[in-house]
Symmetry: C2
Amino acid sequence: MSGHERRSRLVVLAGPTAVGKGTVAAHIREHHPEVWISVSATTRPPRPGEVNGVHYWFVSDEEFDNMIAEDDLLEWAVVHKSARYGTPRQPVDLALASGRPAMLEIDLQGARQVRRTMPEALFVFLKPPSWEELVRRLVGRGTETEEERERRLETARAELAAESEFDTTIVNHEVHAAANELVALMTLD
Amino acid sequence: MSGHERRSRLVVLAGPTAVGKGTVAAHIREHHPEVWISVSATTRPPRPGEVNGVHYWFVSDEEFDNMIAEDDLLEWAVVHKSARYGTPRQPVDLALASGRPAMLEIDLQGARQVRRTMPEALFVFLKPPSWEELVRRLVGRGTETEEERERRLETARAELAAESEFDTTIVNHEVHAAANELVALMTLD
């Protein structure tokens, strides 16, 4: 007796900071409940409206250390010099084992780690419609210093160059279309 | 920087066959979304209306074998001589690490296994209002042979005797009240 004939293929969505990965993931969560999306563990505190176990698992530094020690994380990274984020391993395995379409929405460092252990995953690069649009999203608030602004743009240039490491690219002109393209990649395979 | 001050305590709900554990769990899932409920892996096929990853993770026998081999299950058991059911370990750890109220709804064999590895959990026995009520639920359909009926009642007697192994008992007079008692145990601790 068998539940499903075969494992599903993991889709890893990554891209530059501020390209809109989180918005695309939120759109899929709302409109495509058949897709399983990994819930990351993080050591940063919850923001208003964020639900523990839905948007993130909010854990202490000590618990995060334990997960690293037990090899319970598929990938993890330090973001903005303090908070750590990671992908719990077993929930991903369960989703794939049960044949459910499954995706991770992670940063570039994380995607590179996942590729080392799961090269058979489909790596999708989310790209801004243009360099100008990414700059607008990155520095739009105008509250940073010139030095901070330059640093962000430098990082963005390096992040955009990572596109060639990916299996395929989706341009994020509009969240609805980008989400649908991604779901099609997941389910028509 | 820390997400939560402390781990939550796992609540394990068990009881005799047909006492209504699944109905109590479904009520909590609907009315108390703050409570995390473990999703079991099973090798039996989905029934109509059951959603993969929500009610169960439906996996093949081979995937289930892998989970056993990797020590990825907190407990598992064979039910009705064919299908296997088990509790994936890491999701439980994540829920507890993040401080979220968390419960397992499992059978008596499973509860005994969990007690060996997590004796600090709170073990709750769900009890029928009376022996007559349990008999009614067990043999209500009247389609079984006399021999089958006797076997079921014998099992039920043995299962009821397990009450003394538990930390506390909730009598399932009515699903709403039983669910509220259980949630109070989880969140007022």
